[in-house]
């Protein structure tokens, strides 16, 4: 029996990293929102590695933060170790990475959700989507409750027809042996979406008491207290260490001896796995010349003895997993608490989406996160935030919120998803961001806070802090540019000599002197030429000065890039009426329906001549 259970502006299915952001964004923007989850005990679950951040991902987390999202704040409350990766490789690729306390992370997120005004949580399995006339109207749960909604965000991760594989053993299940969502796939297909199947995997977890750390190398966190969010309080949490060990020849032999039982090689697993996250058996076979692979043993939290074996994700049979682990230095007597597994799941081909993450086939239906064929908590959260914002804008009848590739990693992520065909789960890399020197973790707030404010997600507290920072930054920069020195200046000559820097020939400003690689802004503060504006601003100024040339170059590239981005294409353009397109281009353009000529130029199969042809035709239509 169906019953009428209520009416919401926005409904979100799935309370993973995407769903939490989507629901919070919608509620914070003033929409009545409901968040469905298969289990309220598993909100914001980290079913795989216990960490947040790293190259490209840290930038994403900072961007989520600047726009008023939650992930950065949450990991700042729930980390056990934070480090900066890639120090010395340049500011654009420097990245924070935190080890998370998984339970605490979930707990903190749940608290935030519960406290959020306008947001209702509900443990229920959604089985049907009502979308008459290709427009979302309501969802129906297993227990017969019908919820009307103006927009729907589906963020079901790897739960759609999830199937777990461990050696010869196979069964239906979501990550971490949760219930899978069995009916929703059919509902999405009925609504008009095409689904594909991907595979991913996770390593076994082990009991800390059974590990001999004396045979491993300790990896402590950074001394400094590092934070993802610009507004997190300094909390100075004690840091837990990770541990480094490695596989041995014996380990690899065990794997080779058991390949006939490995689903990756017996053909049981058909979906292609991600190359950046290969199973251990895959690594052993592909890099046969390597005698050893690094393995990191990472705590899963403060209040647990469970540890994660980074680098050993596998779907080998359980007995083989035990033998593999015990051949590793320090793990001779290890006890497995959870077996590693591979999981296959349905995903939505993301080329069916608009850049707003709304499905072209169904008005008001948004998808975000792993369901869109991505991997990673950060990628999921970023999409969730954008989908949540756009669900609200849809309900309010406003234009969608779309970030450009030149503005953010979020823009790169979504643009790639929609335009590029992928045959493996998508992971963000800094190499995918052509303007990466502009898209740094250190300036995410400068890039995006105003946009988050406009859309209504950045609250007064965050906004005022941002305004203050900007003001201090600008004043300090002015100071650096206006303070000049002649060759005759004794203090400056002394400092330059001490730094083995060439003596001045002409009058130069502090800004110009700062460009010299050997000069540090701290020295100017120490010399009393600049009032200390705090480490964050000092870092920002130093980057802006030292990389000015490169930054300028990329800004020029962006200006060129934007010319085609700004050439808009009507959504209902009849590509059959466009004279002179190649067949392949016509097909792809019809499918993706780009919003701009710039987007069109990035669709696989559309070449530069097609773009020129398109420009001519657009002009013809304009004049007609």
């Amino acid at each position: 029996m169906l019953y009428d259970a209520g009416k919401y502006d926005v409904a979100v299915i799935g309370a993973g990293h995407a769903g939490c952001e989507a629901a919070l964004a919608a509620a914070r923007m003033g929409c009545r929102t409901i968040l469905f989850t298969l289990s309220l005990d598993n909100v914001a679950l980290m079913p795989c590695n216990p960490s947040v951040g790293g190259p490209a991902k840290a930038q994403l987390v900072r961007e989520i933060d600047a726009l008023g999202g939650e992930m950065a704040l949450n990991i700042d409350k729930a980390n056990i170790q934070v480090r900066t990766i890639n120090t010395g490789k340049g500011p654009a690729v420097q990245a924070l990475r935190a080890q998370a306390d998984k339970r605490e992370y979930q707990h903190e997120m749940l608290q935030t959700l519960l406290k959020q005004k306008n947001l209702d949580l509900l443990m229920a399995e959604v089985e049907e989507i009502e979308a008459p006339d290709r427009k979302v109207q309501a969802v129906i749960t297993k227990t017969g409750a019908r919820y009307e909604c103006g927009a729907l965000v589906v963020t079901t991760g790897t739960y759609l027809k999830g199937r777990i594989i461990i050696g010869e053993v196979m069964y239906d299940g979501g990550p971490g042996n949760q219930f899978p969502a069995t009916k929703l796939s059919a509902a999405l297909e009925k609504a008009g979406l095409r689904l594909g199947r991907f595979k991913t995997g996770t390593p076994p977890r082990i009991d800390q008491k059974s590990v001999d750390f004396s045979k491993m190398i300790e990896q402590p966190g950074d001394e400094k207290t590092l934070r993802f969010s610009h507004i997190s309080p300094e909390n100075g949490r004690p840091q837990l260490s990770c541990w480094l060990t490695h596989s041995t020849r014996e380990t690899h032999q065990i794997v080779m001896d058991n390949l006939d039982r490995a689903p990756m090689f017996t053909g049981v697993i058909k979906g292609r796995g991600p190359r950046y996250c290969p199973s251990f058996e895959d690594k052993v076979v592909r890099y046969a010349h390597k005698d050893s692979h690094q393995l990191f043993i990472e705590p899963e939290g403060r209040e647990t003895d469970e540890m994660y074996v980074q680098g050993l994700n596998t779907s080998l049979p359980e007995d083989v997993q035990i033998r593999v682990l015990r051949s590793i230095p320090g793990l001779e007597n290890v006890h497995i608490t959870r077996t590693g597994y591979a999981i296959e799941y349905d995903y939505v081909f993301p080329s069916q989406l608009k850049l707003s993450l709304e499905a072209r086939a169904v008005e008001g239906l948004f998808t975000a996160g792993q369901i869109n064929g991505t991997s990673g908590y950060e990628e999921a959260a970023a999409q969730g935030l954008i989908a949540g914002i756009n669900a609200v804008l849809k309900v309010q009848g406003k234009e969608p919120f779309i970030l450009k590739r030149s503005q953010s990693y979020i823009g790169v992520l979504i643009d790639d998803l929609v335009n590029k065909e992928a045959d493996e789960p998508y992971r963000l890399l800094t190499s995918r961001a052509e303007y990466r020197l502009l898209l740094r973790q250190d300036n995410a707030d400068l890039r995006l806070t105003e946009l988050g404010r406009d859309v209504g997600l950045v609250d007064d507290y965050r906004y005022n802090r941002f305004q203050e920072k900007k003001k201090t930054l600008e004043e300090a920069r002015e100071k650096l540019k206006k303070t000049t020195f002649t060759p005759a200046d004794q203090t400056m000559s002394g400092l330059l000599e001490q730094k083995k820097s060439a003596a001045l020939k002409d009058r130069l400003s502090l800004w110009e002197i700062l460009r010299r690689p050997e000069m540090k802004i701290r020295d100017f503060v120490v010399a009393g030429w600049l009032e200390d504006p705090g480490p964050e601003i000092l870092e920002q100024l130093e980057i802006q000065a030292k990389y000015e040339g490169y930054i300028k170059k990329q800004e020029d590239q962006v200006a060129r890039f934007n010319k085609l981005e700004d050439k808009k294409i009507r959504e209902d353009l009849d590509y059959d009426q466009v004279y002179g397109l190649s067949n392949e281009a016509r097909q792809k353009l019809k499918e993706v329906r780009p919003v701009s000529v710039g987007q069109a130029s990035r669709i696989s199969g559309v070449n530069p001549a097609d773009i020129n042809v398109l420009l001519i035709n657009l002009e013809k239509m304009r004049r007609n």
Partner: protein
């Protein structure tokens, strides 16, 4: 919408005596003016009215003359593209036009895409609606033709060399990006390998560029001017080289008054050979003009044959002419070796004209002619000969891309250790883009595949 400045040779290669370089965009009048030396210095280009014609020279940064040209200026919106347009009519034909174009391209102007002028004409409303489909057809056709040309260049041996360059560059980029995106799996960049790759890249690029220039010489030919004081035997030499009695030969100094040209083939290289009026101070008006013209021809030539008369010895006139040859490729030909009374000793010549190739010859007795042809071939191909036998012809776009790739690789080599990896990667992308343009590929897309192929990634 504002477009950037573009340029291209707009006459088909090899046809007609005059070739046209067309430029379009807001900055082109200024850019051409920077390398235009008007005959009438009172009339700089930017001051000229629309549809004016301007005679002068295109000169390079060192103010060396590249070609005598007729420049027309057409201001927006009344021009073919609706933007400011400049057309440069090059009297020296296709080769000169290409050289002028290269000069413009060094001043921030971009080489036009196939069909781009027509495209702009349409987008700016200069062509009417009914022509839209014709414009599309032109763009399609020109693109296909350009693709075909580019591809036919890149077959066989050449394709292997280009592939090799692409491969190394992708490897380098993958090394940088892997170190940045997967620091824990890959560790630090292997700077030694990176340095080696860059060094090899530079070598291969150099080889390719040289081979391309060589191809250009065999395709486009060179200009060789015969010069010297009156009566030294210039016209006799021309006749000997072309094996016809084309130029009048007498023992009266000042016989030749105008430039006489003909075409011959020396060791497979098309050579335009030019006999000039003997250079001397003269009161005769006709001869004076001839002398001026000779100097012009000598300056424009790729190679000069400077003749000295063994019978008369080295005179002031010879030294006056020598001034015009100081920075040129030149061969010194000591003529009339057959004479009984010689007033030049080869040792003296070597001392006075240090560093020049010197040949002793007798045009009348046909001695030293083989040696002269050898010398012409060697001088023209100087530095472009290699042990390999790459035979390649690049179009302008490919050549430009190669030069860009080489300069980026050189910069990368210099900055390898001092520039942080994030920036280094961006510079490598630039080189990748340039090399990709040679064969029309987007190489950057192959980098990520390469990371996973070459490195053991995966935590």
């Amino acid at each position: 919408m504002m477009y950037d400045d573009i340029a291209a040779v707009s006459t088909p290669p090899g046809e007609g005596g005059i070739a046209i370089v067309r430029l379009s965009g807001t900055g082109v009048i200024q850019a051409v003016a920077e390398c235009f030396l008007p005959f009438n210095p009172q009339l700089p280009l930017p001051a000229r009215a629309s549809f004016s014609l301007n005679l002068g020279w295109i000169v390079d940064r060192e103010k060396e003359k590249i070609d005598e040209v007729l420049v027309s200026v057409m201001r927006a919106p009344k021009s073919y593209t609706g933007e400011d347009v400049v057309e440069v009519n090059c009297h020296g034909g296709t080769l000169a036009a290409r050289k002028c174009l290269e000069e413009f391209l060094q001043r921030g102007i971009r080489l036009a895409e196939p069909g781009e002028f027509t495209k702009r004409a349409f987008l700016s409303g200069r062509l009417d609606l009914s022509q839209a489909e014709a414009v599309v057809d032109i763009i399609r056709a020109k693109n296909e033709k350009a693709m075909k040309m580019a591809v036919s260049n890149l077959e066989g041996k050449n394709s292997a060399v280009i592939k090799n360059i692409e491969d190394r560059l992708i490897r380098l980029n993958a090394m940088v990006e892997a170190s940045v995106d997967f620091p824990e799996d890959v560790g630090e960049l292997d700077y030694r390998e990176a340095g080696d790759i860059l060094l090899e890249l530079e070598e291969v690029l150099n080889k390719l560029i040289r081979a391309g220039e060589r191809g250009e010489i065999y395709r486009e030919g060179v200009n060789v001017a015969i010069c010297g004081k009156p009566n030294v035997g210039k016209s006799s030499l021309l006749n000997a080289l072309i094996r016809k009695d084309k130029a009048i030969v007498t023992d009266i100094p000042g016989t030749t008054r105008d430039v006489i040209e003909d075409y011959i083939n020396i060791r497979g290289i098309p050579v335009k050979i030019m006999d000039t009026a003997g250079i001397r101070g003269t009161e005769d008006l006709v001869e004076q003009i001839g002398v001026e013209k000779s100097i012009q021809v000598i300056e424009n030539a790729d190679l000069a044959i400077f003749m000295l008369d063994m019978g008369t010895g080295i005179s002031q006139e010879d030294m006056d002419l020598y001034i015009h040859l100081k920075n040129k490729k030149a061969i010194i030909l000591l003529n009339k070796e057959d004479l009984a009374h010689k007033h030049i000793k080869p040792e003296d010549v070597e001392k006075i004209f240090k560093g020049f190739k010197i040949i002793t010859a007798s045009v009348i007795e046909d001695r030293g002619m083989d040696e002269l042809e050898d010398a012409i071939e060697n001088m023209v191909l100087e530095g472009k000969l290699d042990s390999d036998d790459l035979d390649i012809m690049f179009n302008m776009r490919q050549k430009k891309a190669l030069l860009k790739a080489r300069s980026t690789v050189q910069e990368l080599r210099e900055s390898l250790e001092s520039v942080p990896l994030d920036c280094l990667g961006v510079d490598v992308w630039e080189a990748l883009e340039a090399v990709g343009e040679i064969s029309g590929k987007t190489l950057k897309e192959e980098v990520i595949d390469r990371i996973f192929r070459d490195f053991c990634i995966g935590k």
